[in-house]
Structures are given as C-alpha cells and as structure tokens.
C-alpha cells in the first residue's frame, strides 16, 4: 500500500539543535509510517489522555496555553471551551488549507508525520467531546493527501481510529477531505462552507466563532494542523514541560519558514517568544545572513497579509504582544526577506495580485477594491502611473480599512508605529490583506513609487474671451 508514496522528503526543513515538539521524527526517512511512529513513542499521548477524564485533558491543554498556529493565535484550550454544553453533536474541522503566501509548515507536518496529526485530532476530539473529525487538506497537496490517507488506513486497521479506540469507550471517525484551490477557504467559516459542499465564502459574523454555530449549524472547533500536532507531546510531557519552553505568553515552539533573499532559506522549529527576527535572518543556525551579504531592505514578518518590517524591527522577538504594538503580526510563521536589490513596487504587486485574485467576491470593498488596487499598482509598476494614482491607492485602501492602517516605525523617515490590528469593512481578512503590503511599501518606500510616476504638465485652459462674431 505504501509503495506509491516512496518519494524523497520535501526539501526545506532544517533540524538544528533546539527542542523539538512537532518535528522530532522528521530526521527519519520513513517518519510517515506507522512502524516508525510507534517505535518513536507514537500514540502514547493518546493512551495517556484516554487514561484520564476528558475534562482533565481539556484543563491540561488550557493551562499549557497552546496558541493557535494558523494566524490569529487564539489559545486552543480556550477555543474548545466556547462550545455550548448541551448541544450535540460537535465537530472538529482540521484546517490543512495552508496557502498564505510564504507559509510552509503544515504541508511538512502532514507529509512527514501524518500519524502525529491524527493523534492530535483524537486528543482534541476526546477532550472537547467532538463526535466526528474532518481533516481538510488543501487540494493542490497531492503527496500530503496520499500520506494522510495511508496513515488513516493504517490507524483504522490498527484500532487507533474508529470504534472503541484502544478498546476504550471513546469512538470517533476521522474523515479525510480535500479542497480544490481557493485561498479564502483558509478562513474558518469559509472552510466550513467548503466542507458543506458550497462555494467557499466566509460567513457573516457574528457569531465570531464556529464554536457556537459551525458545520451543519452545529458547534464546531476549527484548529490548524500545527496546533493539533503539539497535543501528543503535550499529553506525554505535561503542560509544565510545555510552558517551560518559550515565554509565559507564547509557550512552546513554532514552525517558521524563512524565504526570499537569505543565504539559507528554510523551515525551522524555533523557541516561541524569545527567538528574534535577527536570530532568524542572520543567525548561523538559521539563515546565515542576507544573500551576497547585501543589505536588508524589508521583510514580511507573518505571511503575505502582514505589514512589513525593516531593519529597525530586527530585534523584536517572536512574541505577539510585542509584534502587534510594533505595527504588524506574526500570523502563520512566514517570513519573506527582500534585500537591497528588490524592486519594492513590483514585490508589493505580487502580493496585491494574489489577494485580488483570491477575493471570493462576497464583500464589495474587497472584490472591487482589491482588483482596483491591482490595476492602479500595475500602472505604476509599468511606468504609466501618475501622482493621482498614488493618492487613489490610499483612498481605495481607506475604503477597505478606514482609519490609520498599522505600520512599523522607521527612524530614518521619522515615523512612529501604528499598532495592529486595523479596522475593516469586510467580513474576513482577504480585503485588508490586499492593501497591507501596498500600504507598507508606500509608507516605507514612497520615493520608489514616486520615481516611477509620469509627470503630467497641466496646461491652463482659458476661455475664449470674445465669442465669434459670425455664427452662420
């Protein structure tokens, strides 16, 4: 059964000499098989969890403050507690629709250690009393789908998933579901719509959490792949060991992908809360500096939707409570680095194009605004934009995000930071995301836009002073 999936591991992951919570098996070539999983302590966390009352397990996860790793950073244990007590059934939907620009971690976790994810799902279902689990994998990830399918088939056959798991009274099905290519489906209510077989458009809020009203109108927990992958380790080692790594507000580790103009791009499991951007970009155990020893121009700290940082913010740690006030977000653990050779307006255009393309069309400011931002920016990048176009971009942006848009401070420009988050006129974050890279680029590198504008000379039009005397 496994012969068809004997591909080499996807490239990119760099192990390093750091504590490993979710990537401990990555070093093994056969890390995705049940044999290897069992030989390296697999399903021990599940066994431990089933040996305790479900509410106990829930409390343990709550006390460990496992922050959601999908982007919003909401603690998993607290999220589980938001479901109403007397409404059944409740569902678990696993968000494996990783598609935020720059993000590359969930695919690795699904391809290299699918059983760890399955174990995490089971622990979540047990602790929060969830009756069925749907594991939604992005449509374009063929290998991840194959690996998870094989792992589920193995786990069913061996009695880890399904009826009376490990001979206990705990029974749950995990259903592998796969998408078909739509970024917006990463938003949790859009994910649920998609799982119901509809167009993947986000639902109107409130309710702000599907925990109240989700899949088929039932209470539903939506958790990210990486969040759930933390649970087996947490069960085996306990909340105390988990919070001993990282800081009090951001405990544990995080998967971070650093890409773009660095010497050694890679995916790292880093210590949460203390590792700084400087460590990541310049540290010898991480990326080892900017390519060709160029100067750093700017970097995106948390996926394509995040406002940009420059060298001024390098010493910020991976800690939401510090990155937010500094004007951006940690998002999904994706850093994209631009060196001094980067054409900033063109770089911003790739992201604005992405969000304009991925708008689902439900909210007008995003559907119309996003595409206009792209069109106007394309004009500027092509060298036919005018001063009015630059102003127009900011006006269109203000219709998606009224008020001050968050941005980083900059000493050279004398700018003070505007803290995250922004106000928005759309249901979900796709609209603001189309404006975020563009706003950062214009705020921090305005001269690069201005130098591309066409100067229009205005010719004063004066009225003809005397009307013609002969009309016919």
């Amino acid at each position: 059964m496994t012969t068809a999936i004997r591909y080499p591991h996807a490239a990119g992951f760099v192990a390093g000499d750091r504590p490993k919570i979710v990537t401990s098996r990555f070093e093994h070539a056969d890390s995705f098989t049940l044999e290897r999983f069992l030989a390296t302590g697999g399903y021990a966390g599940l066994r431990k969890a089933l040996g305790r009352a479900a509410t106990d397990v829930h409390e343990e996860v709550k006390s460990a403050t496992v922050l959601g790793r999908g982007g919003a950073g909401f603690p998993a244990g607290t999220k589980w507690g938001l479901t109403p007590q007397q409404v059944f059934p409740k569902y678990l939907v696993v968000n494996g629709d990783e598609s935020e620009p720059g993000t590359y971690k969930d695919r690795l976790l699904m391809e290299r250690d699918p059983h760890q994810l399955i174990e995490g799902c089971l622990i979540a279902c047990y602790a929060a009393g969830l009756s069925q689990c749907f594991l939604y994998i992005r449509g374009e990830m063929a290998l991840a789908q194959e690996r998870v399918a094989v792992a589920l088939n193995e786990a069913y056959a061996a009695g880890y998933v399904g009826k009376n798991i490990l001979g206990s009274k705990f029974s749950v099905d995990i259903v592998l579901h796969w998408g078909a290519g739509a970024y917006v489906v990463g938003e949790e209510t859009a994910l649920i719509e998609s799982l119901e077989g509809n167009r993947g458009m986000p639902r109107l809020k409130p309710p702000f959490f599907p925990a109240a009203n989700g899949l088929y109108g039932q209470p539903t927990i939506v958790n990210n792949v990486e969040t759930l992958a933390n649970l087996p380790w947490l069960m085996v080692n306990g909340a105390e060991a988990f919070t001993a790594i990282g800081t009090k507000t951001s405990p544990g580790t995080r998967m971070v992908a650093v890409s773009g103009h660095v010497k050694n791009p890679g995916v790292f499991e880093i210590i949460n809360g203390t590792t700084t951007f400087r460590d990541l970009l310049y540290g010898a155990e991480f990326c080892g500096g900017i390519r060709n020893d160029n100067e750093l121009k700017a970097f995106v700290p948390g996926g394509g939707s995040a406002p940009w940082f420059t060298a001024d913010q390098l010493d910020l740690p991976f800690e939401a409570s510090q990155v937010g006030p500094a004007g951006s977000m940690l998002g999904s653990g994706a850093i994209m680095v631009m060196d001094s050779t980067t054409d900033i307006p063109a770089a911003a255009l790739t992201l604005t194009h992405f969000y304009a393309h991925e708008s689902c069309g439900k909210c007008t400011p995003c559907r119309e605004g996003g595409t206009w931002l792209e069109r106007i920016l394309t004009r500027i990048v092509d060298g036919t934009g005018t001063e009015a176009d630059l102003q127009q971009i900011l006006e269109v942006g203000a219709m998606i995000c009224p008020g001050d848009f968050p941005h980083a401070s900059n000493e050279k420009l004398g700018l003070a930071a505007v803290p995250f988050p922004y106000k928005m006129t759309t249901i979900c974050f796709v609209g603001p995301s189309a404006f975020a890279p563009l706003h950062s680029a214009i705020t921090l590198f305005r001269s690069e836009f201005e130098s591309r504008l066409v100067k229009r000379i205005s010719i004063p039009v004066t009225a003809v002073s005397t009307p013609p005397t002969v009309w016919a």
């Binding site: 490239a11 099905d173 998408g179 078909a180 992908a257 890409s259």
Partner: protein, 204 residues
C-alpha cells in the same frame, strides 16, 4: 462516457457515506469526475447532482468557485509556475518567460499536441525552495531553466509517467473506512446525547 462509470459510482457512494450530509462530498466527487475525464463535463455535474441530491446548478455553483476544476480539456500535464512573492523574488518571472518560449505557448495556453498546459499559479507552500512549480500537483523545487527543459523532455518521453499521473488524478490513494471499524456518519439531528466518554470518567 462523461457520467461517472460503474466503478466510480461505487467510489462516489463510499465517499458520500463518510459525511453526515451528502452535499459535503461534492468537492471530492468533482475531483473524481475530473480524474475520470481529465476535466469536469456538464454531464458529470448533472450526474453528481443526482448522486448527492442537489440541482445541477448548485453543483455548477460550487465547481466554478474552485481553481482546480477545469471545464474544458487541458493538456495531459498541467504545469503551474508559482508567481507569488517568494518565488517572484527568486526569479519566477524569468522562469515563466523561459517556459513560454520552451513550450511555445503563453501562460494559460495549451500546446498543439495537447501534452502541456502552462499556467501562472499562486503560492504553493514551498516558499523556501523558490522558484517552484507543480506538474499535475507534483512539486519541483528550485527550478532552473535547464531543470525545466529536462523535465519537459522527460515528460514527453514518458520517463516520469510513474511519478506523475495524467491531469485530473490528485491523490492516488483513498481513505477506506472498514465497515467493522468505522463509527459511521450520522445526520446531526439524529444525535441527541453527549458522547459516551463525556461522563467525567477516564475512557480506558
């Protein structure tokens, strides 16, 4: 043969049985139809509507939202070159330019022999390995121009046929829930009690 064939109807019913509501199976079933015919035909959408109990318009509504579904024939190999930020920074533009010349079609076009469709794609979650591309959703990392040429030649000669199936096939392995092990999907309105393990006692 645009409707699902006998074997695929069986698979479709099995997929539907995994969900509390049949319509949830729609996206996997559209993939199944695309796998069978290379693209999603009108007849298949009507058929899927019958299988899950919705109108063909609803099937069409869902299908047209998602980028992976094609409604007219595409090349045997769909080459998606990523053009989002990390790949763009690392030279995806040049790679696309080269690919257009190599294949003799613009992005979005299909070669005259029906072998290749070239397309511009958005972030593929392999950003550290930029520039990347996918051929029928199988990855190629850090692609240089000569890598691209070799890959195209290998695809033409059939050298990669084992690794890369024709367009429409995504995962080649399906989840099978054994009848004696599965709990079974139950419509939400039929569940009236808290799960048995939520009784305040350990399950084991």
């Amino acid at each position: 043969m645009s409707k699902l064939n006998e074997a695929n109807i069986k698979t479709a019913l099995e997929i539907i049985s995994h969900y509390p509501r049949p319509k949830s199976a729609l996206i996997p079933l559209l993939h199944l139809a695309q796998e069978q015919n290379g693209y999603v035909t009108n007849e298949a959408m009507v058929h899927l509507g019958e299988l899950v109990g919705v109108t063909s318009a609803e099937v069409y509504g869902t299908a047209t939202f998602y980028e992976m579904f094609r409604f007219e024939p595409v090349g045997k190999y769909l080459v998606n070159i990523c053009g989002t930020m990390s790949c763009a920074l690392m030279g995806a533009g040049d790679l696309m330019h080269h690919a257009e010349h190599k294949l003799g079609v613009k992005a979005g076009g299909t070669t005259a022999d029906g072998m290749f469709t070239l397309a511009h794609a958005e972030c593929q979650a392999a950003c550290t390995e930029a520039p990347t591309l996918q051929v029928n959703y199988r990855f190629r990392y850090k692609v240089t121009n000569s890598d691209f040429d070799t890959m195209i030649d290998d695809l033409k000669s059939g050298k990669l046929a084992d690794e890369i199936p024709g367009h429409g096939v995504v995962a080649r392995i399906r989840q099978r829930i054994p009848a004696d092990r599965g709990v079974g999907a139950i419509a939400p309105e039929l569940v009236t009690e808290n799960p048995v393990w939520m009784d305040g006692k350990a399950a084991l």
